[in-house]
């Protein structure tokens, strides 16, 4: 591999890792803070992508679709928390898995009924539809770079909200000792609703941003679900910062694995996960 290729592959790794972070961040919040194993997280990614497709078709602009889609996703998340997930906090993980697996089936069937089973594309917004020439034959789409920037901004914003604001403090406290937080007169149910809605919105946003480059297709959520869980586990459950580090590790492992050891590319990510867990059984950055 020459040096130029190496640099471009590094860029590929960063860009892929950041997109993975966006999906996994919502999962780590819901899993780490609320203790819910949410298998339907991939479905929220899928719903986001289809929202982008439907709203972009209706409004003619992806940016407008995202602006409209985020409040919809937040409201949808809050509704689900109120209707279903709020009944699960005191139940064990098996029941959570059953419910959220059922939701995957329901969401896919609804998607099939409402939008059909075809593969769709979403147009890249005109002002981002350009590319930068890197070598004489290879160029890099500006849209991919824009996604990376958005992901970095979101990572910083999430870190700030959770570590530096009053809301974040209540979220962290609720995670440590639910009973004590309630005793202090804080409405813990409302906090959980906010966190869950945020998790859904992050997954949906990831789907909306990824729609133009990944295309929109049935079962697209299941593809990202497994890799998201890998990231959450490597990073340390509940740690947003850990998810970022883990997502980048996975991005690099996947990209360079495909190039350097193509025969093993399917397992490189999982080998990395095994090694990390041997070294730090609770993930790179333990929660808290």
């Amino acid at each position: 591999m020459d040096f130029a290729s190496f640099l471009i592959q590094t860029l590929n790794s960063l860009q892929y890792g950041l997109l993975l972070f966006l999906v996994a961040s919502g999962l780590t919040l819901v899993f780490g803070i609320m203790g819910i194993i949410n298998l339907a997280h991939g479905s929220f990614y899928m719903i986001g992508a289809y929202l982008a497709f439907v709203l972009t078709s209706a409004t003619g602009s992806l940016v407008l679709a995202i602006v409209l889609g985020i409040p919809l996703a937040l409201a949808f998340g809050a509704f689900l928390e109120w209707a279903l997930f709020s009944h699960l906090y005191k139940r064990d993980h098996l029941e959570q898995v059953l419910l959220t697996y059922g939701l995957i089936l329901i969401f896919e069937q609804l998607r099939s009924l409402l939008v059909g089973d075809d593969v769709h594309g979403v147009a890249i917004p005109a002002f981002l539809d350009a590319s930068i020439q890197l070598t004489e034959v290879m160029s890099y789409p500006v849209y991919r770079l824009a996604i990376s920037v958005i992901c970095i901004v979101l990572a910083v914003a999430l870190y700030y909200v959770i570590q530096r604001t009053r809301l974040g403090m209540m979220i962290r406290a609720g995670n440590d000792d639910r009973g004590m937080v309630e005793a202090l007169g804080i409405n813990i149910n409302m906090i959980y609703r906010v966190v869950f809605a945020l998790g859904v919105a992050l997954a949906a946003l990831a789907g909306m941003l990824a729609a133009p480059i990944s295309s929109v297709f049935p079962n697209m959520g299941s593809h990202v679900l497994i890799i998201s869980f890998v990231i959450v586990v490597i990073g340390g459950i509940g740690s947003v910062w850990g998810a970022l580090v883990a997502a980048l590790i996975v991005g690099f492992a996947d990209t360079f694995g495909k190039v350097l050891v193509p025969e093993l590319s399917g397992i490189v990510v999982y080998v990395v996960m095994a090694v990390v867990l041997l070294w730090r059984p609770e993930g790179i950055l333990k929660k808290g």
Partner: protein, 391 residues
């Protein structure tokens, strides 16, 4: 005593008469039982529906009959799930007692079905699944295919590129049997014609993060790139390839699955691409024109290659039944009839090879707008080599 004997004789006569009448009635009303085992949910749902539509269209054109008998359908959704394939196929064969099994799209499911068909000596027609093995090492007198083998369109592309004077090619595909069979077919013809594969890349199915491979292609700078992808993965690869600026400097080729049914999702990135397949838009035979008009009228949908394969599955069975005088029980005659039939398909007429795979023309097609327009026949009467078939 006497009375009893009379009664007995009377009963016997009555029973015989009833039985005779029953047989007669059964003969006249006997229907041909067709088992459609296809995906009606999941990723391949649209393909299963198109195949069913095509099959039923031929039956309708044939007066609602096959071999002169009414047709009774037994339908199973195979969910493209190989784990349930054997059970589903057995249900159709032993509970519903179907005369012919028609299925399916997914190669893994089709291979399991073919095993059931072989073991129970049930006739089977594969209306899509392209695994070489079905008409290769696992071929059977009872298993026919109305579609293609993975080898066929890719081999034709390899030949065509070598003839064009392309010297070096990089390939990318998913690491599963259909992808690897496609690349192998391409490689065989391309290297025979003097070309060389400079890079063979694979990624796990259904991973779609292609960026690392595009970077590799850009640094290897081959004359051309050959890929096998289908569905959403194909749409993404073609879009990514164009977005990386490679489309203008290194031409991209593949079997027709790359651009069939997903041109809309590519949003123009596919324009001008050349692919090979046994069907195309803009064919000039009258059969195709009639087929497309009728299909569009009946189903309010444009037909595709899958609908054609379903239509031809019905045509093949009709040819077999005709040779057997309309009796599906005369299996040897049905099989002989199908083997010697010339099928007047919308794709152009074809016959069946010894291993029961279509011997057919492969078209070079070019993407224009939302169509894969036929440019030329690149391989006339291409026959799958059926390696490993002892029949």
């Amino acid at each position: 005593m006497m009375k009893n004997t009379f009664k007995l004789a009377g009963n016997l006569a009555l029973t015989l008469a009833l039985a005779a009448a029953g047989i007669g009635a059964a003969n006249a009303a006997d229907k041909v039982k067709v088992g459609l085992m296809l995906p009606y949910t999941g990723t391949y749902a649209a393909l299963g529906t198109a195949i069913t539509n095509g099959f039923k269209q031929f039956v309708d054109e044939n007066g609602g009959k096959l071999g002169g008998r009414e047709v009774e359908y037994f339908t199973v959704d195979d969910e493209s799930n190989p784990a349930k394939a054997t059970e589903n196929a057995k249900k159709l064969v032993s509970r519903d007692k179907v005369d012919v099994l028609v299925g399916t799209v997914h190669s893994g499911v089709a291979l399991a079905m073919a095993k059931v068909a072989r073991d129970t000596k049930t006739l089977m027609i594969v209306p899509n699944a392209g695994a070489n093995d079905l008409t290769g090492p696992l071929c059977s007198p009872y298993v026919f295919r109305s579609s293609f083998s993975a080898w066929q369109p890719s081999y034709a592309m390899g030949e065509a590129l070598a003839k064009k004077g392309v010297k070096s090619v990089a390939t990318v595909t998913w690491k599963y049997s259909f992808g690897e069979e496609s690349v192998a077919g391409f490689k065989e013809a391309f290297e025979k014609g003097g070309g060389k594969l400079v890079k063979e890349m694979t990624l796990p199915f259904p991973n779609v993060e292609f960026q690392p491979f595009l970077t590799e292609i850009a640094s290897a700078k081959p004359d051309a790139v050959f890929v096998f992808f289908a569905g959403a993965g194909a749409a993404k690869f073609v879009s990514d390839y164009a977005a990386a600026g490679l489309k203008n400097s290194i031409p991209l080729y593949g079997p027709g699955f790359l651009t069939d049914g997903n041109l809309g999702a590519m949003g123009g990135a596919g324009e001008g691409l050349l692919t090979t397949l046994h069907y195309a838009d803009g064919l000039t035979n009258a059969k195709d024109a009639a087929f497309r008009t009728k299909y569009a009228q009946t189903y309010k949908l444009q037909p595709d290659v899958y609908a054609v394969q379903g239509y031809d599955a019905a045509q093949m069975y009709e040819a077999g039944l005709k040779a057997a005088g309309g009796d599906p029980e005369k299996k040897d005659d049905v099989i002989k009839g199908m083997e010697s039939a010339k099928i007047d398909s919308p794709r152009g007429a074809f016959t069946l090879s010894k291993a029961h795979n279509p011997v057919q023309d492969i078209y070079m097609r070019q993407v224009k707008g939302d169509q894969n327009v036929m440019l030329e026949v690149v391989s006339k009467g291409l026959e799958d080599p059926a390696r490993g078939c002892k029949m």
